[in-house]
């Protein structure tokens, strides 16, 4: 009986001490983690080159691993889109173009101009709001060595946004 009472007293004391300690020290908040949902860098690349079954796994791939995981798939898609592909205006073979596109990151210059495509010697330095990235990509996919092949496929004839952009931050136009 006495032993039990002592045990209860001890337990109660420990509980009290713990309660007081917790109040004083404030137990650290549990760390909140977030897990990958969607991923994007260059316009339309994921959409066009990754087929439906692979889209979720592409979104979960880190860029460093994309080349080893998806190069074969990307090249197959490129040749499915354009079976006659030889090179393009940048002089890239199917393997080389695949190599450029498969690691889906957006290259940005921090010192010079920032445009998706300026010329065959100045490209992938950023992506501006008014850059016609679709035409840029269509020419590189379908335009052949000079950019002049397949004229029905190298422009979608939509050259500008439906609203003007602003010259000041945040640059995007107000909503409809």
């Amino acid at each position: 009986m006495k032993k039990t009472f002592t045990h209860i007293l001890l337990a109660g004391t420990l509980l009290l001490i713990t309660a007081v300690s917790c109040k004083k020290d404030d137990a650290p908040a549990a760390v909140v983690y977030y897990e990958k949902g969607d991923q994007m860098a260059r316009p339309a690349i994921n959409t066009v080159f990754v087929d439906a079954p692979a889209k979720d796994s592409f979104n979960n791939a880190i860029p460093m691993k994309m080349a080893s995981l998806f190069s074969t798939k990307f090249k197959a898609r490129l040749l499915a889109l354009n079976a006659g592909y030889t090179t393009n205006a940048l002089g890239l073979t199917a393997d080389q173009l695949t190599g450029v596109l498969v690691t889906d990151v957006l290259n940005v210059s921090t010192t010079g101009n920032t445009k998706f495509f300026t010329s065959t010697s100045d490209y992938l330095t950023g992506r501006g709001l008014s850059d016609d990235v679709i035409d840029n990509e269509l020419i590189l996919l379908f335009g052949g060595p000079t950019g002049g092949s397949n004229p029905g496929l190298t422009t979608d004839n939509v050259g500008a946004n439906d609203k003007a952009f602003s010259a000041a931050f945040p640059y995007l136009a107000s909503p409809w």
Binding site: Y33, T47, K115, N161, F169
Partner: protein, 219 residues
Amino acid sequence: MKKTKILIVAAAALALGGSILWAADHIDAPAVTNQTTDITDVYAFKGADATSRVFVINTQGLLSPAASATAKFDANTLIELNIDNNNDNIEDLVIQAIYDGTNMKFYGPVAPSATGTKSKLEGAVTATVGITPYTASAPVIATGSNGMKVFAGPRDDPFFFDLDQFKKVVGGTASGFRNPGMDTFAGTNVMSVVVEVPVALLNASSGKISVWAETKKKI
């Protein structure tokens, strides 16, 4: 020439069938379709200030005006820009944006404690901005403690593409794009996060960085 064009289109149609349903990343992978994690576009450019760079991450595409009036950011969706500044395709810095029910809170640019698909909020908040209301006559803007300008709210979708015609080409019912083209995204909005970051904070080697955007769900 004509024969080659038809062959190309036919091959594309056979190979891709109806699987090309999206563009940019608009309405993309099955796991993110119609969710607040769906990224539509990423932009990176020099804006009005040559010593800064602007990064735009747009989500929740093809919002009609009616849907835009009630669209919200999601407090359980982290929007994250990954920045590789030493050319190894691994993020060296992140800029994070998380909605707290009232404001968009920004973290970074900051070196993440771990790289890869799982993230946690890194360090202290560096900027906070109210969400620009749909009917606002002027955007709500804030500047953070590190000089980073921030914005969050509905904007006109800046993407332009005749996606409808592209679907017909790939589906084999058209041999090329129409002229004039029609912008499938005209009249639609997105939820935008825009940051303008002093270049000094990006620590670029050789004047170049690579960026990619991720959205992540709280686990």
